[in-house]
Symmetry: C2
Subunit: 541 residues, 2 copies
């Protein structure tokens, strides 16, 4: 049955001791909830003791039974984002969240309703023939973030409503029903979570202390945190990045594939591997990348493939740029002569991507920039390519000594990013011909110097987002290199064997989706671009 729905869901709660923050927060939340429940009961009874109201049918909580797919009414719903002055005088029906409620005396209440990041101000005014004071009281009893249905007439306010996205309109409420109530006190308020550092500091200068929601609290209550305009923007941008990646590659003759994440094998795979036991007691692990299988797909005649899927790294990296699970965008392709063919794809793909984001995601980028101000990414029409040796030389001239056959550390990568930006005016560039010693065993060495390799990394704002190379397609050579790198060849024999039946020269690259979004928007932490991040200390919610 149910291809989607296991009868017993995967449990999600961290176990004892798994997450200190979560445990502490949980206790706090439990206390909060008890208070809230008491308050909610009090509020509801306060409303229900009111005198009977001839207009009582125009407001109230919707009974659960009425939300169980009772009927299809044929009513038309208007999206908050599409309420414009053209609708003036029309009766509309909207569903959204109560973002704020502001009573003015006992006869007027302003309710700002939010849907998909758009907001509109709705006004409830006591009127003899339509709206009772009980209805206003009911409205003010609603908790923030509750879901409401509102029927009302679109009107044009005297002055634009600066507090909402639909500034040129208001809705004069005639009916107001609560579809689902939020708890009265939220663990974090959306306006607090949406506040920029600049706002907090400016307020502080005026002696005012505004709430700052820290990263861990945000992640513990991610459901609320992702409702902020910036987060709504971030994940819509992420969806676009992925879609542009896919559409570009499809238009270039690539085939999208899915390779297995469950891989046979035991502990030989290194320490950064999540291990598990497969059916029949077989030792297995989670794929650290689709590297081997995407190469096998090339050997299987797919010529050019890409994969978008989760990648698992059990690394103890507590940095701003590492996750234990992230989304990999992987590419592998036959090459005719040179790994520059792979860099050409990277070049055209990413320039097309940046262009498209800047052109089609203006609202999202603006929403992100409002909370996390950033400068648009500087990039060239034709992506700059420097050799590793040239990069080393630039660093040397700037007084930074780097091992010419070693790797760049995060600090020198960042420094080189600065130097490149100053000299070439770009924050997006390719560094190629890396030392062979710092690349994986399957990397093809340079034809004229085996100390260097046909490989490259790609940087945005001084941080690596892509890694790629020509691969070794000759099984005997691959076996030799694996051995030299201390890898037990027996454990990867299925991979090596796939090159014995005729293997074309090929290369490819891998991109971290979360890193692309983080660095395009100059965000300071990769947890901001993962919907439910997983790091060495976090596996919930």
């Amino acid at each position: 049955m149910a291809s989607e729905e296991p009868q017993n869901p995967s449990p999600m709660e961290p176990q004892e001791g798994s997450n200190k923050i979560s445990k502490k927060e949980a206790a706090k939340l439990e206390r909060q909830r008890r208070r809230q429940e008491a308050a909610a009961v009090a509020a509801i009874s306060a409303v229900s003791v009111e005198e009977s109201d001839p207009f009582s049918g125009n407001y109230g909580d919707v009974a659960l039974n009425d939300l169980q797919s009772k009927a299809v009414s044929g009513r038309k719903w208007t999206e908050v984002g599409s309420i414009t002055p053209e609708l003036k005088g029309q009766v509309i029906l909207i569903r959204g969240r109560v973002q704020t409620i502001r009573p003015v005396g006992k006869k007027i209440a302003f309710v700002v309703v939010r849907e998909r990041g758009f907001t509109v101000q709705c006004v409830l005014t006591v009127k003899v023939d339509l709206v009772s004071s009980q209805m206003v009281k009911y409205a003010t009893s609603l908790s923030k973030e509750s879901i409401v249905d509102i029927e009302g007439v679109v009107s044009i306010p005297e002055k634009p409503i600066t507090g909402s996205t639909q500034q040129q309109v208001e809705v004069q409420i005639s009916k107001l029903y609560c579809v689902n109530r939020a708890v009265p006190t939220l663990p974090i308020n959306i306006e607090d979570a949406a506040r920029s550092e600049v706002e907090i500091e400016q307020a502080l200068e005026k002696g005012e202390q505004l709430v700052r929601v820290n990263q861990d609290t945000r992640l513990n209550f991610r459901i609320l945190d992702i409702r902020t305009p910036a987060n709504q923007g971030i994940f819509r941008i992420q969806c676009q990045v992925e879609n542009i990646f896919r559409q570009f590659l499809l238009s270039e003759g690539f085939v999208g594939i899915h390779t297995p994440k469950l891989i046979a094998g035991s502990s030989e795979g290194g320490s950064a591997v999540f291990r598990l036991v497969y059916k029949g007691g077989v030792p297995a692990c989670l794929a650290q990348s689709p590297q081997l299988h995407k190469q096998m797909a090339i050997c299987g005649d797919f010529s050019r493939v890409f994969e978008i899927g989760p990648v698992f790294r059990a690394e103890d990296s507590f940095t701003h740029r590492h996750l234990c699970e992230f989304t990999g965008l992987d590419v592998e392709m036959e090459i005719k002569e040179h790994y520059s063919e792979v860099m050409d794809i990277v070049d055209r793909l990413f320039v097309a991507m940046f262009d498209s984001l800047n052109e089609n995601c203006k609202k999202e980028l603006e929403a992100i920039g409002k909370q996390y101000p950033f400068e648009p990414l500087k990039y060239l029409r034709k992506t700059l390519r420097l050799t590793f040796a040239e990069g080393i030389q630039m660093l040397k001239e700037a007084g930074v000594e780097v091992d010419p056959l070693g790797d760049l550390n995060t600090e020198s990568e960042r420094k080189l990013g600065q130097l490149v930006a100053e000299k070439y005016g770009t924050e997006f560039y390719i560094l190629h011909k890396y030392p062979q010693a710092v690349r994986p065993f399957y990397t093809m060495p340079c034809h004229d110097n085996p100390s260097y390799s046909n490989s490259f990394d790609v940087f945005i704002r001084g941080e690596e987002i892509i890694s790629g190379a020509q691969r070794i397609h000759v099984p005997e050579f691959l076996e030799k290199r694996a051995g030299e790198c201390g890898i037990d060849v027996k454990t990867i024999s299925a991979y090596i064997d796939s090159f014995r039946y005729g293997a074309p020269p090929h290369g490819g690259f891998g991109v971290g989706l979360e890193r692309v979004v983080m660095l395009f928007c100059a965000l300071n932490n990769i947890r901001k671009t993962s919907l439910f991040p997983r790091d060495p200390q976090r596996i919930a919610p």
Copy 2:
């Protein structure tokens, strides 16, 4: 650095006892390989002892060094699939696999070259000023499936070449280089793997025994198996199914998301869960579906989301339609009034998908049908919807008694599919209002009868491919239902809590990508539509 490339790859070889078939095959392969190596050495030395040839520069094995990105020559390559009579008289350069080699005496050899499923016949004829007999000998020494570069002139044959896809052209070879040699004896031959049952049986009637490659052998040597025209078609169709799914949903305002596959929790998640130990010794498991997190994304204001990603099921299901890892296409969306809104999306999405596949994937469908003949799927412009009760009644009238509050087994599903096809002329339909008892705890019961639920399954050719429902969005009710279904509510508290901050009514569905492709093409086994399938007995290659 390297976001894609772990220094130590995940090992892929099954361990002792993990896969009996694989072990046996491995031993066989080892013996084969030794024979092949000896044969290859013999063949090469046979060529090298030849007399010196003034045209020796026009053929031979390309040295590895020349394949290490030595230079960018600027030469133009022509794809085999684009060689047409318009190119007559032109010199072209192609790279592809040697599909077959047929010498005719010592002066002529026919080489069929394959690239991306397209084939062209190339002819090598001894000519005084260009082609030596040594070159013909070299050509006939090439093993099948080797990668070659061929330069030659396009000519028009007297009769169409029925054995290749490019029937109106030939290539008169002037240069022939081997880029990478396949082992002389392949574990399976492509023409054997590409043969239909019909062909085998027709040959048998004539007293001829053709090789039949069984499923397990195919999967053990998947790299070779996926080179067949049918398999090339299957995985290109799969890529299209996924892309149509995505593009349709994006055009309807859905956002693509990625939810974590690593989920906290221990053994309470039921037996069909793959368990592992997360960082810090925290018990964890692999997500059996993105169900809980996709609902959480709806609570996080994304309104409409979809996810394409791996789904893990540690079930002991040895059927033609179950895998331990498959690609889930998941959808979740707010609903205004009725779960029919979800079924509307299913309806329009799949009709659009089938239309698009039939229109844009003719070549692929033809390639599949040639090996696995099938009738095009019958479906209506507006998808048929029957209630579960109506389905039961149809079965009853046909003499099949089914528990009205139980589930349908595979047999009755198939029978109902037949009855529906006969009565309504469609092999694609929706069955809704399933008994509550057979649906997951989070399924919303019917408003007028709690024994039934606001749920549905979707069938192609009598087999289930989609399962969906309205979900319970009220936390207290959800808690109650979880308890009634024997689920420890503590283990899913993060999930239940996400409905406490205002939750809109919502619903969704999940599709198995491999099942859609399998049933659209009427294939008999889901392993045919998984690139590297994982089942209880297989975790390699």
